[in-house]
Symmetry: C3
Subunit: 398 residues, 3 copies
């Protein structure tokens, strides 16, 4: 049974009155605050409808295309779940693995797969300067062909993780925070520590920390970014995060001490990443196919990493957070010391303590993606949403 609080959410959604029809969803900072709020609110509405066993089926037919240029389980299944829930069939575009193709080929392929498609979800996070630009090329190609009348509809391009941002993750994280603190407004003044941690692996993307600082600063949070010197993020993303705090009355600061960041934090997000500068060099070397230099860069990076093995989220650190019980967040899978690796991002004790919350954090992603598709692919999302609710079709015949 849907409760009054549910219908209040629908009313709030109506008031946000967003129109994102025929847009892409690539970087959260390209969306205005109402659009962001509408996305997580709709995700929440969808999650509740699903829990009540009510079908979200919006499309009679149509394809959702997934393009994964990097391994993925969670996001792959989240995208598939979202498409299926809305009524779309997923087809994967399998490219040659080593190919970082651009240009005419990409644009032509984009059109060729889009004749009956509603959404193209892309993960392309491996190389600096390529992921986001690839997604834009795809979006531009389908827009052009739609404008020319070659395509009957314009599929939305959805960023399933690029070199710059990871909006399906950061919006799931925002949903988690809103649920944890009770409302969007309650995020104001809460301290969030986005901190680097040690991992034995090389080259983890920058998109998660960048996505977090680029989003949470817009909601008045006090965001502290912590990392060992040298592990800088993309400068323009950091600049953007700073500038957001002016309007949101939040704050943004950088520290090179994990302790400082955890001190009195309401939320900690300890997560490994590779330095932007290293990733930039690596992309250059990959383009030039200089194998030996690539090996050397990797060795150098791993050596540098090993100097910071003490950057681990453990009980001692958790104790210095606000009341000793900050919310611990991670995009999963985490490198858990002594469990999934020798020495990693988080101690087993901390991880196990927060396991249920971590899984709940992950549970938002399919609904966030469904909301993104719904908002960019229905002409009047409020009308369609109200029809869905009125139809009230059981997901399982019963």
């Amino acid at each position: 049974m849907l409760e009054k609080s549910f219908h209040d959410k629908v009313l709030t959604f109506r008031e946000l009155a967003v129109n994102m029809y025929n847009q892409d969803y690539l970087l959260t900072w390209e969306k205005d605050l109402n659009e962001i709020k509408a996305t997580i609110l709709l995700a929440d509405i969808f999650k509740e409808l699903h829990k009540e066993g009510i079908s979200l089926k919006t499309f009679e037919t149509g394809l959702g295309i997934s393009i994964f240029r990097d391994k993925s389980t969670r996001t792959r299944f989240s995208f598939a779940s979202a498409c299926d829930a809305l009524g779309l069939d997923v087809v994967s575009l399998e490219e040659e693995k080593s190919q970082i193709s651009h240009g005419e080929t990409v644009r032509e392929t984009a059109v060729m797969i889009s004749f009956l498609s509603e959404v193209i979800g892309i993960r392309d996070d491996m190389y600096i300067g390529t992921g986001d630009s690839y997604m834009r090329e795809v979006g531009k190609a389908v827009k052009e062909s739609y404008d020319e009348g070659v395509l009957a509809q314009r599929p939305a391009v959805i960023n399933l993780q690029s070199d710059i941002d990871h909006p399906t993750q950061s919006l799931s994280d925002l949903s988690t925070l809103v649920d944890h603190f009770g409302s969007v407004e309650n995020l104001k003044g809460k301290k969030l520590a986005m901190t680097w941690t040690y991992s034995s692996s090389y080259g983890k993307p920058l998109s998660v920390p960048q996505g977090i600082i680029g989003l949470m600063t817009r909601f008045g949070m006090d965001v502290t970014l912590a990392y060992p010197k040298g592990y800088e993020l993309m400068p323009n993303v950091v600049e953007r995060a700073k500038s957001f705090t002016e309007q949101s009355k939040g704050s943004f600061q950088i520290t090179h001490s994990m302790e400082d960041s955890f001190k009195d934090a309401n939320v900690v997000y300890p997560k490994s990443w590779a330095p932007f500068e290293i990733m930039r060099q690596r992309t250059e070397l990959l383009k030039k196919k200089v194998v030996q230099a690539l090996d050397e860069l990797e060795q150098e990076c791993l050596l540098e990493n090993s100097r910071h093995m003490n950057w681990e989220c453990n009980q001692d650190l958790m104790k210095i957070t606000r009341n000793g019980d900050a919310l611990y967040m991670h995009c999963l899978p985490a490198d858990i010391s002594g469990l999934s690796c020798k020495q990693g991002e988080v101690s087993e004790e901390v991880f196990q303590h927060y396991k249920k919350q971590l899984y709940q954090q992950a549970s938002y992603k399919p609904f966030v993606i469904a909301a993104m598709i719904f908002l960019t692919r229905t002409m009047d999302p409020l009308v369609t949403l109200e029809k869905l609710i009125r139809k009230n079709t059981s997901r399982i015949l019963s």
Copy 2:
């Protein structure tokens, strides 16, 4: 047009009054007799509805996940067909091929793929001691997260072949026998020969013969298991088969003569398998990654195999079965002497004679799987079934 006999089946289904909601389907001997009967009866009902062109669509949306840790065509398509027929979209989880991963990783992944999933079908039959336990870990993980409220529904784990049992096969075989002899009751006192045969390949799973002796003994059949000395099955499965005959008034015996087993048999099921002891050793060596010892074991096993090339199902043997016309069964694909291999499990003459029946035997599997999903995923299967029948939606608009 659905006939009276169809409605009688639905009445019988009502009388069986089973409740398997939120269960897994891993070993047939974990299910009581009524649950087994309900499964094959529902499969039969589904098969008839399908033949009449009536849709079985029960789910508006939802994912069916397949995890194949071994090659498969038949079972893969049977699972896909069952999911599609019920309204679920299939997504495959592709793991790294060599990985026999367990533990935390498996449990986390199980939850991550399950947020909007109704069923997880798993084939993991390669290594003794791993398949069944892997399925149980997945089942336990999704149950835990469902109980904690992290999952809105609890996907059923369905065994698509483990190291121990192959219920989708054995239940299809049971359906075939019931169809052949006219009723479940008529199975009583019929002699079934589950006999080993020669094949040039190495390491065929034990799950088919184990599934057959562990199921048919429950229906009062006289089951004879025949194999050359050394080709023993898992002792506890054999014990279980023996114990079933006490209640069912059937019988179970082991012979080392193919002739003995075929003598007066109503049904013969000649099929190659690897000795349990060899499979056990192999799994140990694989864990230790002792390549040379593995090679030696394989050579030894193939040599031993080659001593039993006369264990082939051919016309001469078929002649000594009951009236010379026992039903010949196989899970397919069979190694057919002179056709798909030099010397194999069955002569071409026998195979061709029974080809139509063999294909019919295979035709039950999609419907058996659909019945398993339906029984474990609908709260009141009778109510939902009756709604399906009343709705009477044509599968093809016409």
Copy 3:
């Protein structure tokens, strides 16, 4: 809003009164003229319904199986789009890559995957003498099992490109021509140049040029086939094209000058292919696995190719076509000189000029495939089509 012209098309479809139920769709010249006309007319009707946002969903459930024995993006997505639009779920049969298996195995597999399937789409275009015959084996197997009652329905086998013909391409091309010239009747007397062009790649299939000359000659077009000596197509296909012109009052001629073919042409279709004789030898060598001879053959072929680098479609040649503005066609992807390759089938200037038309040409394929499935899988396509139109279900809930 569907216009009067739309309803006129439905009336014309009614008058064609075709019955293709339970047939395969392998070679266009196995279909009579009305069947061909009905296919492209229905494709056109489907395209218009799709554009109007009306669902084409004809099947409640059912599988569409794709078997790709060669790489494909466009046709793969066209097939997936067509199946999805009609309500079928696509499952791919992944065979071992190097396997050119035939015989019992193929026939058995065909039945095993077909218990709940409506269509099997096959691309098998690599080896002379194997693709078309493989499709026929699959079709024969499912027909036999359907006739015996093992299959409840008989899936249609649809040729997604064989060694002989490429009907989904040639019928999309025919749709494009009908749209360009206004009607089927207007094709009469129009000159179409199917001309070989240079490409640096080796072994491009013959099925596109063969499909074009085997189809367009049936509509009274003046078809000129142009290629350097040695680049002959299959003799019996050429014979058939010639013979078609007798009834259609068209013409068919062969020239070895690209200029001759372009002269006054209304339509040009410049496209590379490998000589039939080379492809035949290659298939023989592949069967015998003579690696060195295969390498030599490839070298020889590439050398011969390089002697005809001047066979490129460029502005100079386009100028000598009818009024200097013939329709330029290509099945895509094209080898574009200076863009996707150093020297290729077409200059960038020409390609860019016709890009929009080329994409529109490609846009017909999903609807042509949908029409093929619909015509072979509905007992009375007119009744079902009229129901679809009357139901008028929005593709997107709104």
